[in-house]
């Protein structure tokens, strides 16, 4: 196959991953075409965050079997920064604090990292994008002079993840419980940010516990992960079913 014939999608094949000797992912299969956003749901402690972190290359996890292909290319051997430069982006469930580094400075470096050798992020490019991202998120410009997540409330951290997402313009996003800890207004702001990017050039996973976020970002597909495997997939109605019936019935699917 030549380059142009590669499918525009993330394909996760029989993915197994462990922390130390402890297996967490036990054979995940998923295809997420570019242009689609899929919800990933499931009870706590069943491997959703692990899947997200393995996708972006967190060295804490070891892939013991299977593969992840992005646009037909296996990314397992790639460093996290290479994956990011390919267009992968994870909005972390627990973003970390980096004291002393302003958001502005960090965003500029991260944008620069995506450029070809010798190409500079121009001030106009940076500032233009920043203005429009802040507007989408209904955020004051002064925020970018603060240190990255340092002393941020949970909601501010989540909003900051979306700010980075808007600035870096990834092709594949993974949002890990971005909705948890947000009030309705903040939730709308975040959803607004994601929806502003939505289109045929954006694919990804939205990991969430609740229907709430999915009222604003309607998923193309919904997958349920239990005990490190996808146990059921369906349309948006599956999320609604989980919302009304709870998770007990899916737990049984895993043992069935």
């Amino acid at each position: 196959m030549t380059q142009t014939e590669q499918p525009h999608q993330i394909e996760i094949r029989n993915l197994h991953a462990s922390v130390g000797d402890l297996p967490i992912l036990k054979g995940v299969d998923l295809i997420i075409p570019r242009g689609e956003l899929h919800a990933v749901m499931g009870p706590n402690g069943n491997g959703k965050s692990t899947l997200a972190k393995v996708m972006v290359g967190d060295p804490e996890y070891t892939v013991t079997d299977g593969d992840i292909l992005v646009d037909g290319v296996s990314i397992l051997e790639m460093e996290p920064d290479e994956r990011a430069r390919m267009g992968l982006f994870l909005a972390f469930q627990y973003p970390v604090e980096i004291p002393g580094v302003t958001i502005a400075n960090f965003l500029r470096l991260a944008m620069q990292a995506r450029k070809e050798e010798g190409e500079e992020v121009s001030f106009t490019e940076f500032y233009g994008k920043l203005q429009s991202a802040l507007k989408t998120l209904d955020w004051d410009e002064s925020i970018v002079e603060r240190y990255l997540n340092a002393g941020f409330s949970g909601g501010e951290k989540k909003r900051n993840e979306i700010l980075q997402m808007l600035m870096l313009e990834p092709t594949y996003i993974i949002m890990d419980e971005t909705d948890s800890g947000l009030d309705v207004d903040a939730l709308k702001v975040v959803a607004n940010g994601v929806n502003s990017m939505r289109g045929e050039n954006l694919g990804g996973l939205i990991i969430t516990h609740y229907q709430r976020l999915l009222d604003y970002i309607v998923p193309d597909r919904v997958h349920i992960i239990v005990d490190g495997k996808v146990v059921q997939s369906g349309g948006p109605e599956l999320a609604k079913k989980l919302d009304s019936q709870g998770y007990d019935w899916v737990k049984e699917l895993a043992t069935a």
Binding site: G57, E60, P99, G100, A110
Partner: protein, 468 residues
């Protein structure tokens, strides 16, 4: 420029490790000897009192044992050092008159570009002597004095003698005694009452010869209500045998005056750097030390503020970075003699690859220094398992109404932070560099922009390949 083939690779990332061939007007024999002291005094055509002072200091030096605390100095052989090397050429105000090699050296280090840019005056010391000193005319007109210490002694004998060795007497410690015996070079600065020099003065120190010592002596007097900022930078070639730098810096901050002394010490990793820096601060005066220790093999340096009158304030901001084979024993000293005096010490150290950094600080509050207060914050960042850090806070409070706060943290560079930044496209080295920059940001932001950029650049250089 000739590159001396003897340079070794104790620190491959050290970019100023080249050297010039040795061409000198005077090179005293090795060792700290009476005839060397006399030779220095004679070469400088000094008054008798100064020769007497030097000889007395030599006796004091001989009577004092090497310090047993602090860093390991057993590798420093004081008999194997050249104590005085006078370069060809002389102290000049004209850059064109600086000898070619020396000029090339300083040009390669970015001087005098820096002067043209944003400095009020520039000095340059090569080996034992100042080769260049120049103050911009606008400041000279206002009565500001910025001279080599030797010219200070000649041109302002009374002012000089009134203050010289009153703040750091030769008895203070063994290295102050060495310096007092063989001092050469350094700056003499006087800022008259009420004059505010709002852009920095800078002096650059370069050791070129192998096994040599540099013993500059700087005396700075900031008169009532005046303000200034002085910056020093230092580099040396990377030789396999050790060099020795032992400066004494004395500062007088008079009533209501404000002074900042910033150092970006980037000696090569074969230099023993043992410096005594102290300021006497009078009523409502403010003294700030900004001390960046990146280079050297061993540094022992504790910038001090003696708060002598009501309302005086002293601040020390210190950054140390210790890599393989380096020990930075740095800190601060704040001594309160008077009521309502206040101090602050912020120390940040970074250690990697078996490097060791220690914070050693003294806060002393004498009885009667009512409501004196000082706050100490020291944070250490360790980049790997081998790196080491220690804290030695000495706090002596004799006054009941005084308050001293002390906070210390030790952290390791955190894998989650690296992962977070990497997931945004930064390489692992860039990520670690950014975290370190963030760690020192509270200090870097106190420096003028160009120096903050330089500091960050030096740290990045030291960081290359430092995370696995």
């Amino acid at each position: 420029m000739t590159i001396n083939p003897e340079v070794n690779d104790i620190n491959a990332s050290y970019e100023y490790g080249w050297s010039n061939p040795e061409k000198y007007a005077v090179k005293a024999p090795k060792g700290l000897r009476r005839d060397v002291v006399e030779m220095i005094s004679k070469a400088k055509d000094e008054p008798q009192w100064m020769l007497d002072f030097r000889l007395k200091a030599l006796d004091i030096f001989n009577s004092k044992p090497m310090p047993e605390w602090g860093a390991d100095l057993s590798g420093l052989n004081l008999d194997e050092i050249y104590y005085y090397i006078k370069p060809e050429g002389f102290n000049t105000r004209s850059w064109d008159d600086v000898p070619e090699d020396v000029k090339n050296t300083f040009e390669r280090l970015g001087i005098p570009e820096a002067e043209r840019a944003a400095l009020a005056g520039v000095g340059a010391q090569y080996e034992s002597e100042m080769v260049y000193h120049n103050l911009k005319e606008e400041w000279e007109k206002l009565g500001v004095v910025f001279l080599s210490i030797e010219d200070g002694l000649k041109e302002y004998p009374e002012l000089f003698r009134e203050h010289f060795a009153t703040i750091v007497p030769p008895e203070d410690n063994k290295f102050a005694a060495i310096n007092s015996a063989v001092w050469s070079g350094g700056s003499f600065v006087y800022v008259p009452k009420g004059v505010k020099v709002d852009i920095p003065l800078q002096t650059y120190f370069r050791i070129n010869a192998e096994s040599s010592g540099q013993f500059e002596r700087t005396l700075i007097i900031i008169d009532e209500g005046a303000q200034a900022h002085y910056i020093e930078g230092c580099t040396a070639p990377s030789y396999s045998s050790d060099s020795f730098h032992s400066g004494v810096i004395e500062i007088v901050v008079k009533e209501g005056a404000r002074f900042r002394y910033s150092t970006i010490q980037n000696w090569s990793h074969n230099v023993y750097n043992l410096v005594t820096q102290r300021a006497a601060v009078y009523g409502n005066g403010v003294m700030e030390w900004v001390d960046g220790n990146l280079g050297s093999k061993v540094t022992m340096k504790y910038p001090a503020c003696y708060l002598l009158e009501d309302g005086a304030r002293g601040e020390v901001l210190s950054i140390a970075m210790a890599g393989r084979g380096q020990h930075q024993d740095a800190g601060a000293k704040i001594v309160h003699f008077a009521p309502h005096t206040s101090g602050s010490i912020v120390s940040k150290s970074i250690s990697k690859d078996s490097g060791r950094s220690s914070y050693r600080g003294l806060v002393k509050i004498y009885e009667g220094a009512k409501y004196a207060k000082t706050n100490v914050e020291c944070d250490a960042l360790l980049l790997d398992e081998e790196a080491r850090t220690d804290t030695y806070p000495y706090i002596e409070v004799e006054e009941k109404t005084a308050r001293v706060g002390h906070e210390a943290t030790v952290s390791k560079i955190n894998d989650d932070q690296i992962m977070y930044l990497q997931s945004r496209g930064l390489s692992k080295d860039q990520a670690a560099g950014l975290i370190v920059r963030g760690f020192i940001e509270p200090i870097a932001k106190e420096l003028p922009l160009e120096y903050a950029v330089e500091l960050n650049r030096l740290i990045e250089l030291e960081m290359e390949g430092s995370v696995g």
